[in-house]
Symmetry: C2
Subunit: 409 residues, 2 copies
């Protein structure tokens, strides 16, 4: 018995058959006294269909962000009404609520909104009437009532935040994978499903390239201290719990996961004067353009000439913008050259236990060395170590590191 | 210069091309200083597509009226966002508002809601900013904010009511015909477009079968005294004005139109006792089942036996329900027989000038007689005369009457 928020993504509700299947499953799993809130995304291709319509009007419809939100919020409104009808058809009282009706208040940054307040008065009232409450994910309204979408991964964020506001016992995120793995199972055959992982580890995994959860929703879970249960739409087996601390003696592994990211590019600015303020001049220009810089290494190139090399990585999507800025700044600084490498990838290990376990870094580098993978850049955080390598070596690298920290039983 | 509400139906905004065409036209026709509110329906087939989805969940989705409203209101939300993008693409500032955002307050009768209040604060604010305001027709919300649709013809009603609340100068209803005709142009080759017609005449025409405007929207126009301009989506020519009184000396014709309706059935209850309360027992039972009864004739059948015949018409859609009720009541009354005729039709003439012009009825009956059309039932109102005839004779009858009152020039 408890209050549980369950989130189903677009592919889980992609057809009327799938919607009926979700409704059946939820009713089957429901314990007497359970209060259930469903958060659902738009049906499979609906969002793409709506965007295609908008592109028929204007090739760049996202310049009209408010109108895109007016358009796209209909997608979830369709799926919540259909799922609610499915529950009712199966004899289960239910009611649908749009984001605004569920009390999801946002700022006014259309298409990339942030939740600023949640007042789930209506949700609680409908739960008290015995209804399963079906809430539209991904959306809310600003202070004048205009619909606002939350941007990428917004439905996960809606679900976790609503769970927090409702003081729910847990938030279940149903997805096409059955949990959080020690590495991407598509890349590592022996990847293990983790029973538990902490918010911080999950955030670090996501930041370093693991796609299973959007960082914003994990942050939301951490803020409200709501356990997030990542589980499969297709099976009833338990998945992985994301929470503040481990509850089980599952501390076999100091490292909780191996993450990778091949959407990165390396930029090297060679031969810049080694004076105070040089790093600032490069990175503040990038920050002004909203370009996130990741791994940064500065090395002395030539002590006599007092010049240095500045090496860092950016997301591949930011590369054109970053290149423009770096070329300009390098020119102003009289740098010798700017080198761009796109055939790189980042492989990382994550684990909160790493701090108290010396030698973890050495084991990682050793595994890469044995696999003949050259390391170009290294960076570390409190709970992670990342190495930049050649993209062509990524699969070997991830498997070598995984085998080192998660040996076959 | 003025404040004008312009309503476009689903076929006028049935594709992105048509939406762009509507936007272009409105911008072309806009005079400096004009304030324009657009009321639009869902794109062409959207509503049917949504209903088909719902039927995939449950063959009778309309039993879930609240959820059907949640589903169907997305249709207009899609068209308002696209039309607004079209305006903006053409350089015209515009903003979309759902029914609720436009202040359209309804009762809670889902799928058949009635407007109970309109507070168009936001509409006025957006007009003052120089926007064309694009409002979703057919919808509003009840006092707890749930979406409610207005039922059949709801978008016309939204438009006229909003025009009333805004104290607009006029309300233009764009449709696939270019005005109100003296008879259905598909049936009468010489049908004339009327420059003007009064609310009462239009209401009577609609009640008697003319399809161009839903009665509710005409009543709304009459209530607010808003001139309604019925005009074509495809041409810029003026159409017909529906208003309180004629403004032009266009009184050539005492009769304003010939209406017809072949979706009627005749029910005859033969040989019921001619006692007080007999009519009440039949018609109250029908009223309890929400069956509208139209033409009623009671005639003495047999004075000695003191029995009478009761003849009346109902809409063909109500016939199964009506038959069940009438059979039961006829049984209780010991009536001799119940006869049903489905091959009947009603032809009517409408005109406010009729009252002061004796001989109109005689001219109508004469025209029918000359055309060898037998009259089964006659009924009259202050501004109309209706005859029930055989369906097979309908076209001849309508043409004969039209030729009598609207002679070829």
């Amino acid at each position: 018995m408890g209050l549980i928020v369950k989130k189903f993504g677009g592919s889980s509700v992609g057809s009327v058959e799938k919607i009926m299947a979700v409704a059946k499953r939820i009713i089957d799993e429901k314990q007497p006294g359970d209060k259930i809130v469903m958060v659902v995304s738009a049906m499979g291709d609906t969002t793409d269909d709506l965007i295609a319509l908008a592109k028929g009007i204007n090739k760049e419809p996202y310049q009209y962000t408010r109108e895109m939100d007016m358009l796209l919020t209909t997608g979830e409104q369709i799926s919540i009404s259909l799922l609610t009808m499915a529950f009712k058809t199966l004899g289960q009282p239910a009611v649908s609520l749009t984001g605004p009706l569920a009390g999801m208040k946002t700022n006014s940054v259309h298409t990339k909104g942030k939740l600023v307040d949640i007042k789930p008065v209506r949700v609680l009232a409908e739960l008290d009437k015995g209804n399963i409450v079906v809430v539209a994910g991904f959306q809310g309204c600003n202070e004048i009532g205009d619909p606002v979408t939350l941007g990428r991964g917004g439905s996960d964020t809606s679900a976790v935040a609503l769970a927090g506001a409702l003081k729910a016992d847990s938030c279940e995120i149903f997805t096409d994978v059955d949990g959080v793995y020690s590495a991407d199972p598509r890349m590592v055959k022996d990847a293990r499903k983790m029973k538990e992982i902490t918010y911080n580890e999950m955030l670090e995994m996501a930041r370093l390239g693991a796609g299973v959860m959007q960082p914003r929703s994990v942050e939301m879970g951490k803020y409200f201290n709501i356990p997030i249960h990542v589980r499969s739409t297709f099976t009833t087996k338990p998945g992985s719990f994301i929470r503040e601390e481990y509850t089980m003696e599952d501390k076999e592994f100091t490292i909780r996961g191996v993450a990778h990211d091949n959407d990165v590019a390396k930029i090297a600015v060679l031969g810049v004067p080694n004076n105070p303020g040089i790093a600032h001049s490069i990175f503040s220009a990038l920050a002004d353009a909203n370009v996130d810089v990741d791994m940064i290494v500065q090395s002395i190139r030539n002590i006599e000439k007092n010049v240095t090399d500045m090496v860092f990585t950016v997301a591949i999507t930011d590369l054109p913008e970053a290149k423009k800025i770096v070329d300009r700044v390098a020119d102003e600084l009289n740098a010798i050259a700017v080198l761009i490498e796109e055939d790189v990838a980042k492989v990382s290990i994550v684990g909160a236990g790493m701090l108290g376990s010396p030698g973890i870094a050495a084991r990682m580098f050793g595994a890469l060395s044995t696999a003949s993978v050259n390391i170009e850049v290294i960076s570390t955080s409190e709970i992670s170590i990342s190495c930049l390598i050649k993209n062509a070596k990524l699969k070997e690298a991830v498997n070598a590191i995984h085998a080192e920290f998660f040996p076959a039983k």
